[in-house]
């Protein structure tokens, strides 16, 4: 397998607070290959968005990367000086946010925002940048792009605005696009369109995607691989079909069991008892141990590491430790 585009190794994100340091991400490791779509799922507060923010270097203070490394095509980016990191943002890593209604500056036209972004990263004249902007809008499916480009964000509907946001995120041809719940704020009817546009345009430009969502349906249809986060720790990562159909981590299994399917005839959906622990109350050992149906003595004592399984799957659960070797990190 070729070298991955993005490689996250043992990423630790901490928030110093008055009552001690909270560890919001604990030794999270994963790769994204060239052109791959990696889905990132988990409950609210599991650390999905935080992972995205850490990669693009926009953690909100006082949050900070306390350990680990982030590599983008062989170059370490988690410790770049501010100005260099700024040039990575937009140019090499694009980001799409959740709410298109608030992602665009209301006081500037779409053209102004696009052209500003393009010219920040590319050596183009105003005219060339504008032509490029129109092309982008056209590509993301804005009808009559050449005319509508001079409209203000409030002239567009939510779905159209998210298309504009995608155009902005892709304006400078980034190699990686981090989409943080890109459809959560949209009507169900336009969600699929937006996902399609995002997927198509990234595929056509060879950009990899990190798709953060809690919608397993979107993941199942879009992602190549999926990573499951629980309480700031990676529970399981693997090809999307395998993980959905044969989850290995008890948490993932519970998560999949709680999703209704059309063919299912069960009376009740399974649910995982309890709720995810708060960051200041993560139990010793495995974070999932109070809720795990298969918990045993070791889970209360040691924190499991990612264990490699067949077909490029990894799971952090002691159930699979038997004689497997641990994945080496770094």
């Amino acid at each position: 397998m070729a070298a991955p585009l993005l490689s996250v190794r043992d990423l630790i994100v901490e928030f110093p607070t008055r009552r001690g340091t909270l560890r919001a991400l604990d030794r999270v490791s994963f790769d994204i290959a060239e052109g791959e779509v990696l889905g990132m799922v988990g409950e609210s507060g599991a650390g999905k968005s935080l992972t995205g923010a850490a990669i693009i270097g926009l953690l909100e203070p006082p949050g900070r990367i306390a350990g680990g490394e982030i590599w983008l095509r062989g170059e370490r980016i988690d410790n770049l000086p501010r100005e260099k990191m700024r040039r990575v943002r937009g140019r090499r890593i694009g980001m799409v946010f959740q709410d298109p209604l608030t992602s665009l500056n209301p006081l500037y036209t779409v053209a102004e925002q696009l052209i500003e972004t393009i010219r920040t990263h590319m050596d183009l004249s105003e005219k060339e940048a504008r032509a490029r902007a129109v092309g982008l809008l056209d590509r993301v499916g804005i009808p009559a792009a050449a005319r509508r480009i001079d409209d203000y964000p409030h002239h567009f509907s939510g779905g159209m605005r998210q298309r504009v946001v995608i155009a902005l995120a892709l304006a400078a041809e980034p190699e990686l696009v981090i989409a943080d719940e890109p459809t959560t704020a949209l009507d169900v009817s336009v969600q699929a369109q937006i996902i399609d546009v995002l997927k198509e345009i990234c595929a056509e430009r060879g950009a990899s995607v990190m798709l953060i969502t809690h919608d397993m349906g979107v993941i199942a249809e879009t992602a190549d691989r999926v990573a499951v986060l629980y309480a700031g720790r990676l529970a399981e990562i693997g090809p999307v079909r395998d993980v959905i159909q044969a989850a290995e981590h008890p948490y993932t299994a519970g998560l999949m069991g709680s999703i209704p399917t059309l063919t299912q005839t069960a009376e009740r959906l399974t649910q995982i008892p309890g709720s995810m622990p708060r960051l200041n109350a993560i139990p010793q050992g495995c974070a999932f141990n109070p809720r795990c149906p298969k918990v045993f003595e070791r889970c209360y004592r040691d924190q499991p590491n990612l264990i490699a399984r067949a077909d490029g799957r990894h799971v952090s659960c002691w159930l699979y430790d038997a004689q497997e070797k641990e994945v080496s990190h770094g």
Partner: protein, 328 residues
């Protein structure tokens, strides 16, 4: 757009009529003007004659109508005290006040926005903390005290700047006497302008800071950063512009109060403006001057409000559409 301006103009007329009523009521309730105009030997008959000559025994509505009709043409009568047309008096004093108000308004806006942005971006820095602390003094010290302190430091102790008056003035046009073109005029302007503008500056600064912090937390600023725009473009292009919408309102209204509250500063610095004229008029119950001053200040506020509303249009595109849609 035109409909909006017309509507605002109509509202302005109503405001001005209301103020006119209050101003006119002054004539009836603030002492008897005849008493302050005549000596002790004047007979009752002479007083009645005078009252009739000045139209003071007409019915209320007639008097009010006459007042408005004359006010519209700029005729506010003759000052009881100085025996000159009120309009002439005010116009001769107005440039001094306007220059003072404008200079201190600009100072307040420029430094207010500058410090506000700085303290918002460098939150927690020692300079920001110093500015914020000093600004508390600006907010809490009364204007006259600031004026007196400034006089003491810069005029009495250091002797850098004059402590009173306007310095030398020259005429620009027929009636505009300006102090801005002479050195002593400019020197004389500094202390009063600081005194008058300090409070407004701290107010604008604190407002800009609060708004800026708010805007910096919004999604579109995060998205702008995620697109790799430079700090400069994000902070000044995107954040500051969004900050300015509420700041314009406050600044506009503050400009009105700068003109209105120049009374105190003008008194402290013996500045020959309309504020000082007003204070003297109050002392001598010179009602025509007081009434005219009241109308003038109301007019200033109304005009500034109108300008502020129009500025909204320039800054915020959402308003343009909403109004257009509302009309269709």
């Amino acid at each position: 757009m035109t409909a909006f301006i017309l509507r605002r103009l109509a509202q302005s007329v109503i405001v001005m009529l209301t103020v006119a009523l209050v101003a006119f009521a002054l004539f009836r309730f603030v002492g008897d003007p005849i008493a302050s105009m005549v000596g002790q030997e004047t007979t009752l008959a002479e007083r009645a004659e005078m009252r009739a000559a000045l139209g003071l025994d007409d019915p209320f509505l007639v008097q009010f109508w006459n007042f408005i009709a004359r006010a519209v043409t700029g005729d506010f009568g003759i000052s009881y005290r100085l025996q000159q047309p009120v309009m002439e008096l005010i116009l001769s004093r107005l440039p001094a006040t306007l220059e003072l108000a404008l200079v201190s308004g600009i100072m307040a806006f420029v430094f207010g926005v500058g410090f506000g942005v700085y303290t918002a971006l460098r939150r927690g820095g020692w300079l920001s903390s110093t500015i914020m602390t000093v600004s508390l003094i600006g907010v809490s010290l009364p204007t006259f005290l600031i004026g007196v302190l400034l006089i003491w430091v810069f005029a009495v102790e250091l002797q850098w700047l004059p402590s009173f008056g306007r310095g030398d003035t020259v005429y620009v046009g027929d009636w505009w006497r300006t102090g801005l073109l002479t050195e002593s005029g400019r020197a004389s302007l500094i202390l009063p302008a600081i005194t008058l503008g300090l409070y407004q500056m701290t107010l604008i600064m604190r407002l800009v800071r609060a708004e800026m912090l708010e805007v910096l937390r919004t999604d579109y600023i995060k998205f702008a950063r995620a697109r790799g725009l430079s700090n400069r473009a994000v902070n000044f292009g995107h954040a500051l512009k969004n900050t300015l919408v509420p700041v314009i309102t406050i600044t506009g209204l503050q400009l009105g109060s700068i003109i209105a509250f120049s009374i105190i500063t003008e008194t402290v610095f013996q500045w020959p403006g309309v504020g000082a004229l007003f204070i003297n008029s109050v002392r001598f119950v010179d009602v025509p001057v007081m009434a005219a001053y009241l109308m003038l200040i109301a007019l200033v506020f109304v005009v500034i409000n109108l300008i502020v509303d129009l500025l909204y249009y320039a800054v915020d595109p959402r308003l343009r559409v909403d109004r257009a849609n509302a009309r269709h």
